[in-house]
């Protein structure tokens, strides 16, 4: 069982280019998330999806878009990358525990550098 896979592992991108970060989970979790992690700022939620076909905005959604065509895949797209989007990006999915609480499973991350 792979859990959550992300691709690419790392990427250097020229500013203005379009980029899609891929995320796939094999746990059949309904909810998926994208976070970015920056030194001194911690993990911040970009977008989320509670179920296939629905998405929502997190704390820092500007410059990013997502889609959720099926349960397993949740790609994150940067339409026109800017240097401030240099970060480590984590995809996560959630398993709901009894009582409604949600624990999250994280992928290994994608390190993105925008020059």
């Amino acid at each position: 069982i792979a859990g959550i896979t992300q691709a690419p592992t790392s990427q250097i991108l020229a500013a203005g280019r379009r980029m899609t970060l891929r995320c796939t989970q094999d746990m059949r979790h309904n909810a998926m998330y994208w976070y970015r992690q920056d030194l001194g700022l911690g993990l911040r939620l970009i977008h989320y999806s509670n179920t296939a076909g629905t998405t929502g905005k997190g704390e820092v959604p500007d410059g990013y878009s997502v889609s959720r065509a099926n349960t397993d895949d949740f790609p994150l797209t940067l339409a026109s990358a800017v240097p401030s989007q240099t970060s480590v990006y984590f995809c996560a999915s959630s398993s709901q525990t009894s009582g409604g609480a949600v624990t999250q499973y994280f992928g290994p991350g994608t390190r993105l550098t925008v020059l």
């Binding site: 959550i4 909810a31 998330y33 976070y35 001194g40 700022l41 911690g42 993990l43 911040r44 939620l45 989320y48 509670n50 929502g56 997190g58 704390e59 984590f90 996560a92 959630s94 709901q96 525990t97 009582g99 409604g100 609480a101 949600v102 624990t103 999250q104 499973y105 994280f106 992928g107 290994p108 991350g109």
Partner: protein, 115 residues
């Protein structure tokens, strides 16, 4: 504004001692609080969850307390080992939905267990 605070300084503990990490929050009414461990270059890994009506939760050498009056959680690692060295993140989920819209993370505390 909502805020989660964790010790930003690294915490150095002698092997065998108990390590205690603190998570304070303001302007939240969390339904539950979670602790995650993150190793360098990897995604966070879920450790423990404690609900608002629980005072304490244990798992092997780990213990979490949750004081909604003080708005604080303490995370203890007893009989600490060098392998416990990592960054520990606290995360809050709000409301009956239990964070299905994503968690809010603290910036993390870097714990170093000295042999």
């Amino acid at each position: 504004s909502q805020k989660i605070e964790q010790n930003s300084e690294a915490l150095n503990i002698q092997e065998g001692k108990t390590a205690t990490l603190t998570c304070n929050y303001t302007n939240y009414s969390p339904a539950y609080l979670q602790w995650y461990r993150q190793d360098p270059g990897r995604g966070p890994v879920f450790l423990l969850l404690i609900r608002e009506n629980e005072k304490e939760k244990r798992k092997e050498r780990l213990k979490v307390t949750f004081d909604t009056t003080l708005k604080q959680s303490l995370f203890h690692i007893t009989a600490s080992q060098p392998a416990d060295s990592a960054t520990y993140l606290c995360a809050l989920g709000e409301g009956s939905g239990g964070g299905a819209d994503g968690l809010t993370f603290g910036k993390g505390t870097h714990l170093i267990i000295q042999p």
